[in-house]
Symmetry: C3
C-alpha cells in the first residue's frame, strides 16, 4: 500500500472529418514521463459528445476496418431524429460516440504506460467536420521515486 | 502533485421500461459541489446487468436515435438463449447493456464536472420493465480549498 | 473525506478461441480481500488489442447471446483491410475489441466488490486463437481498517 497522488492534465488533438482515428499513445506517454508517475492509473475522457476513446492496434488496416464498423453502427446516410430538429448533418456522430463511450482507463506500471505490444490508445472523431478536441487526463498514482519496482 | 482524497457516494435513479435514457449530470454536479472536490476524477458504475452509462447530447432527437441504435444492436423481438432458460423477456437487455458497458469516467476541474457544452452523462435502462437503479460514484481528487485553480 | 491509498496487481486469464467469455469476479474479489480495501474503485484494463472487459449476468444463455452479438458487430467471415496486409485471420477480433473497449471501473464498498446480484465482471477474448491475457488491476481506496462502514 502506498499513498496516492493525483495529477491532472489535458491534451489537445486535431481530428479530421469523422470517422477519424488518431493515436494518442505518444502524448500519454509524454505526460507520464513528465509527471514522474511510478504506478497507478491513467484516466482519460474525451470532452464533447461526438468523440470517443478506445484502444486498437494502430495500423492502417485496423483503422480502416474500425471506421467501417462505426459507420455500420450508425450509418451517416440514415434517418435521425436529431437531424429533423437541428439539420447539422451529424445525427450519426452522436449515436456512434455514445455507443463507443468517452472514457478510457489505462494502467501505469514502473513509470510506463502498460499496453499490449500491438495496442495503442486512440481518439476518434465521429463528427461530420474536423474538430479540435480536448482530452482530460487524470493520473492517480505513486510518485516515480517511490513507486518504481513496487 | 497533490495528495489524493477519496469520496464515495451513490445515487438512485428511476428508469422506465427500456430503452430509457435519463440525464444524471445534475445529480453528479450536486455531489461534486457537496463534497468540495477541486480537481480529480469521478468514477461511476451502474449496479445491475441490464443498465449502462455513457455521455450524449441530451436532447430528444439524440435520445430517440440512441434508443433505436441500441435496439438494433440487440433487437427486443429476436431469439435469445437467455429466454429459453429464464423466460423473462429481457435477453436483448442483457446484450445491450454488456455492449455499452456499466462504467464511466469523468474529469473534475476547478470544482466542476468538465464536460463538453452539449455533453451530458446519462444512465440507460435496457430492461423490459421499469427499474430503480443504484449508480455508485467514487471521486478521487484534491479538496476544493487546495485544488481550485491548480 | 479520507486519504486514498493505491494498490496495483495483475491477474492472468486463459481464454479459448474467441469469442470466449470468462467470469473474473472471483479473482477480483480475492484481490480486494487480500489488500484489505475498505471503500474505493477497482480499475481494470485488458492488456492486448483483441480482448475486452464488461459486465454481464454470467449464465450460459447470456454468454451465448453476447458471443453472437459481438460476432454480428464484426463477423469473422467478412472482409477486413487488416487481413489484406497481415493474413492472420483476426480482422474481426480487432474491431470487436475496440467497440467493447478494454477498461472497466467497479466500486468497492465496505470491503466488497459492489455489483448487482446477477452481475459479474467478465473478460472476453475476441482473437481467433486461445490467448493467455494479463488484466492490470489498480485499486484506489481507503484501507479496510479505516474505511469499513464509512
Amino acid at each position: 500500500m502506498k499513498p496516492a497522488s493525483i495529477f491532472f492534465e489535458s491534451i489537445e488533438v486535431k481530428l479530421r472529418t469523422g470517422p477519424d482515428i488518431i493515436d494518442i499513445t505518444p502524448e500519454l506517454k509524454r505526460l507520464i514521463k513528465k509527471l514522474s508517475i511510478g504506478n497507478g492509473s491513467l484516466l482519460a475522457t474525451m470532452v464533447g459528445s461526438t468523440g470517443s476513446l478506445t484502444t486498437i492496434e494502430y495500423e492502417p488496416g485496423v483503422v480502416e476496418d474500425l471506421k467501417r464498423a462505426v459507420d455500420r453502427l450508425a450509418p451517416p446516410g440514415a434517418e435521425y431524429e436529431h437531424e429533423k430538429a437541428w439539420h447539422d448533418g451529424n445525427g450519426h456522430s452522436h449515436v456512434q460516440a455514445a455507443l463507443l463511450g468517452p472514457s478510457l482507463v489505462l494502467p501505469v506500471r514502473n513509470k510506463r504506460l502498460k499496453l499490449g505490444t500491438w495496442q495503442q490508445a486512440v481518439a476518434i472523431n465521429h463528427d461530420n467536420r474536423p474538430r479540435t478536441r480536448t482530452i482530460e487526463v487524470t493520473i492517480t498514482g505513486t510518485e516515480g521515486q517511490q513507486g518504481a519496482g513496487s
